[in-house]
């Protein structure tokens, strides 16, 4: 009887990168094919739209979500902390930004309003992440499970706000708050739905996170946490403080993005599941797809953003089908990258 055995192999870095790009490309073609079948458009027509979506400036609308969150998550994941709660941290950040913009005098001050809203969004995101991190570090409760559950609590909390106490006066049947004041809004690029301010901030964060992770003792020790907590402690560095910092940074980044979504895109608070719409979950995969490396994450968030564009560019039929189609494609592509990871690290021997 033939048996399969898996053994490790070491590919040179160039070949390993090539494998990843090749898988990404093949995955892309498969996605285009599935889409063309599902939508009834011809393959070449779909392919053209797909390429266009890679060149469409509106990819920045998604990059400005994925890039900062994934950078923050990369810090946490590098430290072996399973923060699966970016979705909820994003939603809570949105709630925080809305609070400053709508319910404090700061919201009506030019210049100060967006800065204060975004800062508060980051703080709320941080605090939301602080809860599971404290439970993990001081009580020993698994953070993957708690962060997952807290996403839903954040969803329902924001939903409660927009249906109840924060519900706008002029919104008729909709469950949203009122629009935030003009002073709080960040200008979008005309004809598109993103703001250069956020995009530039995101790229500044790339540089900061890169330097932090690879050039400081703090970052090196942080990355060491994933292979050995004991080694870090024995080197004289408090692993708890490191882990707490990593967790909080990831929460703050996600919160910041949530705030930006309100200031740039929604301009009012809507239900959490719409603010987040799974992008926090997707960012987890973006971070891994980029190899938890800031530069890699730039590429992976571009790739994922383009696929998001594609799935919405091709929306035929109801929005519900479009969303389901987007999920199918993106989920499949993420699975494909896991296969790529396998191919570059292992080989199968049939005996």
């Amino acid at each position: 009887m033939a048996r399969i055995v898996v053994v490790k192999r070491v590919l040179p870095p160039s070949l390993s990168i090539l494998t990843r790009f090749l898988t990404a490309f093949i995955g892309f073609l498969i996605a285009v094919y599935i889409t063309s079948v599902a939508t009834g458009l011809g393959f070449s027509e779909t392919l053209r739209t797909a390429f266009e979506s890679f060149l469409d400036l509106n990819v920045f609308r998604y990059i400005s979500v994925f890039l900062p969150i994934a950078l923050g998550l990369a810090i946490a994941f590098n430290a072996n902390l399973w923060n699966l709660g970016a979705e909820g941290q994003l939603v809570m950040g949105a709630v925080g930004a809305t609070y400053i913009a709508l319910f404090t005098p700061l919201g009506k001050m030019d210049y100060i309003a967006p800065i204060a809203s975004l800062a508060f969004a980051a703080i709320i995101g941080l605090l939301w992440a602080l809860i599971p991190s404290v439970m993990r570090l001081y009580l020993g409760v698994n953070e993957a499970v708690t962060t997952l559950l807290m996403n839903y609590i954040a969803y329902y909390f924001s939903s409660y706000l927009v249906k109840g106490p924060w519900r706008g006066r002029g919104v008729y049947g909709y469950t949203t708050t009122d629009m935030i004041p003009d002073a709080s809004k960040l200008p979008v690029v005309p004809g598109y739905s993103f703001s250069w301010y956020i995009v530039v901030t995101a790229f500044v964060l790339v540089a900061i996170v890169y330097l932090l992770l690879y050039k400081t003792r703090f970052g090196i020790s942080l990355r060491a946490l994933s292979s050995s907590i004991a080694a870090v402690e024995l080197a004289g560095i408090s692993s708890k403080r490191l882990a707490l910092a990593a967790f909080c940074i990831s929460g703050a980044f996600a919160g910041f993005v949530g705030g930006a979504e309100i200031l740039v895109y929604h301009r009012k608070l809507v239900e959490g599941s719409i603010v987040g719409s799974g992008m926090g979950f997707t960012s987890i995969m973006v971070a891994w797809l980029g190899g938890l490396n800031p530069i890699g994450i730039v590429i992976s968030s571009y790739y994922t953003a383009a696929l998001y564009r594609l799935s919405f560019a091709l929306q035929i039929g109801s929005a519900a089908i479009g969303d389901a189609l987007a999920k199918s494609i993106i989920g499949t592509l993420f699975a494909a990258t896991i296969v790529a990871e396998f191919v570059s690290k292992y080989k199968i021997v049939v005996r």
Partner: protein, 290 residues
């Protein structure tokens, strides 16, 4: 006296939850973090709904079983053969399964609801109890169960004792997801009897949490599941009687299960937990031990 207790024990949501948690326990006892359960439950609810609506109740069950197990085998292949990180695999597959399930549901749905199955309370209650006891017996008294638990505690030592870890984990996955599928069937045809996009999302994560809170023990999981079913049902009464907002009621199970896990793991109770130590470990047989 008997009647109210029976009502609690035969609550279809509680029974579905019981089966989901038990299914999760079997899979996680073999050492696999089972995050994909959320996507698979969402998928199997959608498939059950349209299959029952289009073909029939019995065929619906069979189709649900076959497709659920097929998806779980994909998951098991990622974990075992592809040596993929468990959490990442679960999250990626979830996104895909939510999508594919919704596409199938939207494509084949005839109407938003179906005629619920009428099934006697004693039978439902019996399904819950019997599955819990059977799962316990399989895990703790049979050769297969010993192998499954061994893989969860220490796959390397299990392999050295002649257990084929891959094979055992595949079998655990099939058993577990058979239960999950039946749970989804009960949820769809008895409890909910309706469907909209992504119905069931979140229950999988809840099941994982409650499995963890029960220290992955079937006989502890059963009362927890029943209590949760009761909590759900009565929380809607809260809403009706006292006007507690819907969203608070919806968030309640998540908050309570969070609290339960914190209580179990943050107190001396955690010392008693024989948790599968290798849970989430990417097991590569040829890894050199130091």
């Amino acid at each position: 006296m008997v009647e109210p207790i029976l009502t609690i024990l035969a609550d279809p949501l509680a029974i579905a939850l019981t089966l989901w948690i038990l299914g999760d326990i079997v899979v996680e006892r073999s050492g696999v973090i089972n995050l994909a359960i959320d996507g698979i439950i969402t998928f199997s609810i959608a498939v059950t709904f349209v299959a029952v609506q289009n073909i029939g109740y019995v065929q619906g069950l069979l189709i649900s079983l076959a497709s659920t197990i097929a998806l779980s085998l994909i998951f098991a292949t990622f974990i075992n053969v592809l040596h993929a990180p468990h959490v990442l695999t679960g999250l990626s597959l979830n996104i895909a399964f939510y999508g594919v399930g919704a596409l199938i549901g939207l494509r084949y749905m005839k109407s938003r609801s179906l005629v619920p199955i009428g099934i006697g309370k004693p039978i439902l209650a019996l399904i819950g109890v019997a599955t819990a006891v059977l799962t316990w017996f399989t895990l703790y008294r049979s050769r297969l169960g010993t192998e499954i638990r061994a893989c969860g505690f220490n796959p390397r030592a299990a392999e050295a004792a002649g257990v084929r870890v891959w094979r055992t984990r595949y079998i655990a996955t099939i058993i577990g997801y058979t239960l999950v599928s039946i749970g989804s069937y009960i949820y769809t045809t008895i409890y909910r009897s309706g469907w909209s996009q992504y119905t069931g999302m979140g229950y999988g994560f809840l099941a994982i949490t409650l499995a963890m809170a029960s220290s992955w023990h079937p006989l502890i999981a059963y009362p927890i599941a029943i209590a949760f079913g009761y909590l759900y049902t009565s929380s809607y009464a809260l809403q009706l009687l006292y006007g507690v907002p819907t969203d608070v009621v919806n968030a309640l199970p998540f908050m309570v299960s969070l609290a339960v896990v914190v209580i179990v793991y943050a107190t001396p109770l955690s010392k008693k937990v024989a948790m599968p130590k290798a849970l989430g470990e990417v097991y590569f047989r040829e890894e050199r031990a130091a």
